[in-house]
């Protein structure tokens, strides 16, 4: 049966709207890992076919945030398209800022050959790398744990939740030239425009290209609500071999929250999973040159072009560390176990290890893998002071010495009394 022209046109329009809606929905949030993705052949596609990452997540974006989880023996592969001569930057951040978790990172070219790998170039034990790609096509990135040199997951025992930041340039948001963002009060908005970070940057990552000249400093204001974490990294074309930037994160009241000099690859700067203070609505990033301790541009002669990559994550805090003592033990597991069945307080609730919005026995079990001691035994009291046990007898020694002294005094007094009698 032949359909009338109008009906076919309506059908086509409906289909187009539905497809556009589906794509918009897919691009409206950070990408969550989907298993199985444990090999090059089964890499999870991040971008639509034949669409480079900067077209899939255009400025003021320029990248995408991928959330995932690594367990012992696990490795995660992701695929995305790049154009020839694009600069791609990759970083893995964790809630503990790389203090305990030790991820590793590898980039494979379109032929499947290993192009770059990194272990600890980011803050703490976190990896980060930057590469200008010569070849257009589908590139793949692997996230694994320290020790897995072949990226097949076979030889590591790491267990952590992570956020993989993939950013590319060009195109990206460009700093005005000449710039007017040389002070906290005149900070440029990043991303440009008004609204929440998530609304302005559907991929969850914003990239801006800027220039620092001697005596220059650039301020960027990022909308960050309380309970969110900010990760920011500076990159340049030569991987920090020559340029030496510095990075400062300031609160809404211009208080310096974090300074970094060389937390990224080479001399580059990076900050991972910095929590926004309570009641905050924005954080400001200051980019300067080495030597500019006050971030007013007065005392540095650095000159370089940079890409600033900014991503927001959920609330900070060591996952599973319910009492906030930076140590996961039975006390924390007890608290999660007791709360099973309750809804999570938000995306950063440390009791909701699997992030499904409900606290269950699955979260309690997952958190036992984060315990530092066998059977989640508590941290030994005084272990951090180096006490071994005999020190506990010190008060007894003091009492013994005092008693001996009193005894001596009594004997001396008695002796003096006897002498007087004689």
């Amino acid at each position: 049966m032949r359909q009338p022209k109008r009906a076919r046109a309506l059908l086509a329009a409906g289909l187009a709207i539905a497809l556009a809606g589906a794509y918009a929905a897919a691009a409206s949030a950070a990408v969550a890992e989907v298993e199985p993705n444990g090999a090059l052949a089964t890499a999870q596609a991040i971008t639509p076919a034949n669409t480079v990452i900067t077209a899939a997540f255009p400025p003021p974006g320029g990248g995408v945030l991928v959330t995932g989880s690594i367990s012992p023996g696990d490795v995660d592969y992701f695929a995305f398209d790049l154009a020839a001569d694009q600069l791609v930057s990759l970083a893995v951040v964790t809630a503990d800022e790389g203090a305990l978790s030790d991820p590793s990172l590898a980039l494979f070219d379109p032929s499947g050959a290993l192009a770059a790998t990194d272990d600890d170039s980011g803050p703490g034990f976190l990896p980060a790398l930057r590469l200008r790609v010569a070849q257009a096509g589908t590139w793949k990135v692997a996230v694994s744990g320290f020790g897995d040199a072949t990226f097949n997951g076979s030889s590591h025992t790491e267990h952590f939740d992570y956020r993989l930041i993939i950013a590319a340039s060009p195109p990206s948001t460009l700093e005005a030239n000449p710039d007017t963002n040389g002070s906290f009060a005149n900070a440029d908005p990043l991303p440009p425009g008004s609204g929440s970070f998530d609304a302005l940057v559907p991929g969850g990552v914003a990239v801006v290209t800027g220039v620092i000249a001697p005596g220059d400093v650039d301020y960027w204001q990022v909308p960050v609500s309380a309970g969110r974490t900010l990760s920011a990294a500076l990159y340049d074309d030569d991987g920090g071999a020559l340029a030496d930037p510095v990075l400062r994160v300031l609160s809404g009241s211009s208080t310096a929250l974090r300074d970094d000099d060389d937390g990224g690859p080479g001399f580059l700067s990076a900050v991972a999973s910095l929590p926004a203070p309570a009641a905050s609505s924005a954080l400001t990033l200051a980019v300067g040159g080495f030597g500019d301790a006050n971030f007013n541009g007065s005392s540095h002669d650095e000159s370089f072009a940079y890409q600033l990559v900014v991503a927001l994550g959920p609330a900070a805090g060591l996952a599973c560390d319910i009492n906030g003592d930076k140590y996961v033990d039975r006390t924390d597991i007890d608290a999660i176990f007791a709360a099973r069945g309750q809804p999570a307080s938000g995306p950063g609730d440390p009791r909701d290890a699997d992030g499904d919005g409900v606290i269950t026995v699955l979260d309690a079990r997952a958190c036992t893998l984060e315990c530092s001691n066998p059977s989640c035994a508590p941290r030994p009291v005084g272990a951090s002071c180096g006490l071994m046990g005999p020190e506990a007898l010190a008060p007894l020694l003091w009492f013994a010495l005092r008693r001996r002294q009193r005894s001596k005094q009594a004997r001396a007094a008695s002796f003096r009394l006897e002498e007087n009698h004689r």
């Binding site: 597991i333 176990f337 699955l362």
Partner: protein
């Protein structure tokens, strides 16, 4: 007649088909209880795990429903397959009106659990119920929400079946097996078909 034969073959094949490998099931054992006194005990059993290997059971949270006018929950004691108590596992028993919730999480590492759970089936806990005096003489124990089983890594295990138990104060009247009933039905249908053909 041929079609009926094919149907019988298909039904038999489906009945005898093996369960998919790795399917986890949970049940109450024995499936039928006849208390001799005023109380009885029943085991909560898991099956379909890996024997001395993954998947091992790392945690569970299970609800068991009962008729509160017939039964009263008394106590639960947990097994040691998730670790020695209280050092290596945390347990929680939450009695409610007509439902009791049993939960346990192991504090052992996955490799330790694999080594501990050497069989693919074992008792998680033993529950004790009191039978209440009254006109009701039978009832059932069935599984209720939540029904969550975790492997050693904190991943949910898919529960393929959850079989409860029946409780009766007098011994149950023996019933013909399902196959006998089915065969009788087939024989009657066959006889009627032949008569119809004549």
């Amino acid at each position: 007649m041929k079609a009926l034969g094919r149907l019988c073959t298909l039904a038999l094949a489906l009945a005898l088909a093996p369960r998919p490998a790795g399917a986890v099931s949970i049940s109450l054992s024995p499936a039928s209880v006849t208390p001799s006194g005023s109380s009885f005990s029943i085991d909560l059993v898991v099956a379909g795990l890996g024997a001395a290997g993954a998947p091992s059971l790392g945690a569970f949270d299970v609800g068991i429903a009962f008729d509160p006018s017939f039964l009263s929950f008394d106590s639960a004691s947990y097994g040691s397959q998730l670790g020695a108590l209280p050092s290596d596992a945390i347990t929680g028993t939450t009695p409610g009106a007509g439902v009791v919730r049993l939960a346990e999480v192991s504090l052992l590492q996955p490799a330790e659990l694999d080594a501990l759970q050497t069989t693919d089936s074992f008792a998680l806990a033993t529950l004790t119920f009191d039978v209440l005096p009254g006109p009701i003489t039978s009832g059932a124990l069935s599984f209720a929400s939540p029904l969550t089983l975790s492997d050693g890594l904190g991943n949910a295990l898919v529960v393929e079946s959850a079989r409860g138990a029946s409780v009766s104060l007098s011994p149950p009247v023996p019933e013909p097996s399902g196959f006998l009933v089915f065969a009788t039905g087939v024989a009657i249908a066959s006889r009627r078909a032949r008569r119809g053909a004549r």
